[in-house]
């Protein structure tokens, strides 16, 4: 279109007329703004040229607008959902490219701790029987079968405390004090499988571990999938205390995830099973259209 313009119209660049009286009060002249004027022509010809230009551009612009509008409107749901899901996956790859485990979420002072807020009880329909609870762990290095752990087994690992901000995907956030075991400490003790079967080195070569972790409640009513880098982040805990007290049932007793690396939907409560896996695990809310990665 530009070349066309040049043919139809001899553009001439004209400097501002500098009127001394207006000079200091005129933004256009201060910034040396220029006009692009065609040659003087009769009013009739000007109207005719304008009409020709208008018809062409309005037709083209209108066609582009209609194509955009109806293209989006009439796009089959499957195509659209596919496009949006793929965009989530693209965003995930971009996020992981920029991800650095050394970056930490801010920690807060005790005074900043929020009133506790209960949200999300899926997978916890039945009342918890603490005596009957145990944690099964699968996908371990050098083992085909699961192992079963008690809360005391978990508490025997190094204890970590943090006061971080929990962000709900709905848009609210609360500052919570957590105590528990770093997942990375847990994984260093109960070694995950590696991709090639070599001896795992969680601290130095996490990239050789199987890339995912699947976690679910004892009744499998709630289940989440995590990528290995996020779950090995130093601020991702298997938490058993909240705000200085043992976890309450509605907050996920006896053991839950706590982490500022992802939205609350990923911080599964009442964990019954952990599995290290090479396949991308199912995720409760991802199956309802939410971002599987949901990472910060």
């Amino acid at each position: 279109m530009r070349g066309d313009d040049d043919k139809v119209l001899l553009e001439q660049v004209r400097e501002l007329r500098r009127d001394p009286a207006d000079e200091r009060r005129n933004t256009a002249s201060i910034l040396n703004e220029k006009r692009r004027l065609g040659p003087p022509i009769d009013a009739g010809r000007a109207r005719a040229e304008m009409f020709a230009r208008s018809r062409r551009t309005f037709l083209m612009g209108g066609a582009a607008a209609l194509a955009g509008f109806f293209g989006w409107r009439w796009m089959p749901d499957e195509t659209k959902n596919n496009l949006l899901r793929r965009t989530f996956e693209l965003n995930e790859r971009v996020s992981q490219f920029f991800y650095r485990p050394s970056r930490l979420a801010p920690e807060f002072s005790r005074e900043r701790i929020s009133p506790r807020r209960v949200n999300g009880l899926i997978g916890m329909d039945k009342e918890l029987d603490p005596a009957a609870w145990s944690l099964s762990v699968g996908g371990l290095f050098g083992r085909d079968s699961d192992i079963t752990l008690t809360l005391d087994d978990i508490k025997a690992l190094p204890r970590t405390e943090m006061i971080t901000e929990l962000k709900c995907i709905e848009g609210w956030s609360v500052i919570v004090q957590w105590a528990g075991v770093r997942f990375s400490d847990f994984a260093a003790h109960f070694l995950p499988k590696t991709i090639d079967g070599s001896q795992p080195d969680v601290a130095n070569h996490p990239e050789k571990l199987v890339p995912y972790v699947s976690l679910s409640t004892p009744d499998s009513g709630y289940f989440v999938g995590w990528d290995m880098p996020s779950i090995l982040h130093p601020q991702t805990l298997l938490a058993y205390e909240m705000n200085g007290e043992p976890l309450l049932p509605e907050h996920g007793a006896p053991l839950r995830l706590a982490s500022p690396t992802k939205y609350g939907i990923k911080l599964i409560k009442r964990i019954g099973r952990i599995e290290f896996t090479a396949e991308r695990p199912r995720d409760y809310w991802a199956e309802s259209g939410y971002d599987w990665y949901s990472g910060h």
Partner: protein, 235 residues
């Protein structure tokens, strides 16, 4: 009387402007679907909430409730297009020299006030101007900054850990979300004023944003309208 065709808006500016319209619309719409899930903001006068964003009827009429997942999907798709389109626009302004038509300078605020008074029929004569008057310059520069602000605050709430320095700089996660919301309200207000002004400026002006051209009286025939600084150039 002789006429001239004046090239007012380059092709790139027109495309970028019109592409931005559906993109910003989708960002605001999907933002509303997301905001519904935690609609905590209001307009306060000391202890009185004058208006809460938003009344239930507003959500119901638009069909907003329970579409958070869809809102997030759309927001995190259109964000790319919105940000890239905006970035190209800013780069184009810089390299083409079009920034000269948009940037305010010291003294613009006084003239912008006169433009505003003119628009409410309290002052007869518009101050001298270029393609845009000084009120437009301020508005168009502000709206670019608002776009940059929306992207920045959006990033701060999208990646509050990996970009923790940015989130902290904005006063934390909650404040970043607050700013992100109010910038959107400002966009809506800008849009409302923009549409009214375009309607008042008339067809020839609107057409120039589509075709790029406007018919003007030939230079020399009316001395006051020769230069860019002449009075009465339109929105």
């Amino acid at each position: 009387m002789k006429k001239q065709l004046e090239k007012k808006h380059p092709l790139a500016i027109r495309w970028l402007h019109w592409i931005n319209f559906p993109l910003l619309t989708m960002m605001i719409w999907s933002g509303l679907l997301i905001y519904w899930a935690n609609p905590v903001y209001g307009l306060w006068f000391f202890r009185w909430e004058l208006f809460h964003f938003f009344p239930q009827g507003f959500y119901d009429v638009l069909g907003v409730p329970f579409r958070l997942a869809e809102g997030l999907q759309l927001h995190f798709f259109f964000m790319w297009l919105f940000a890239v389109n905006g970035l190209i626009y800013v780069i184009y302004l810089l390299v083409s020299g079009e920034w000269r038509a948009i940037l305010p300078v010291p003294g613009s605020f006084g003239r912008a006030l006169r433009v505003a008074l003119h628009d409410v029929r309290m002052v007869k004569k518009l101050p001298p101007q270029g393609k845009y008057n000084d009120a437009q310059r301020i508005a168009y520069t502000l709206v670019i900054l608002m776009g940059a602000g929306s992207v920045t605050t959006g990033l701060a709430i999208y990646k509050p850990l990996q970009l923790a320095w940015l989130t902290s700089l904005l006063g934390g996660y909650e404040w970043a979300r607050w700013m992100h919301f109010w910038l959107t309200i400002l966009f809506v207000l800008f849009f409302a004023v923009h549409v009214v002004q375009v309607a008042m400026a008339g067809w020839s002006n609107f057409r120039s944003m589509v075709t790029g051209y406007e018919i003007v009286d030939a230079a020399g025939e009316k001395a006051t309208e020769i230069s860019v600084a002449g009075e009465g150039a339109k929105a």
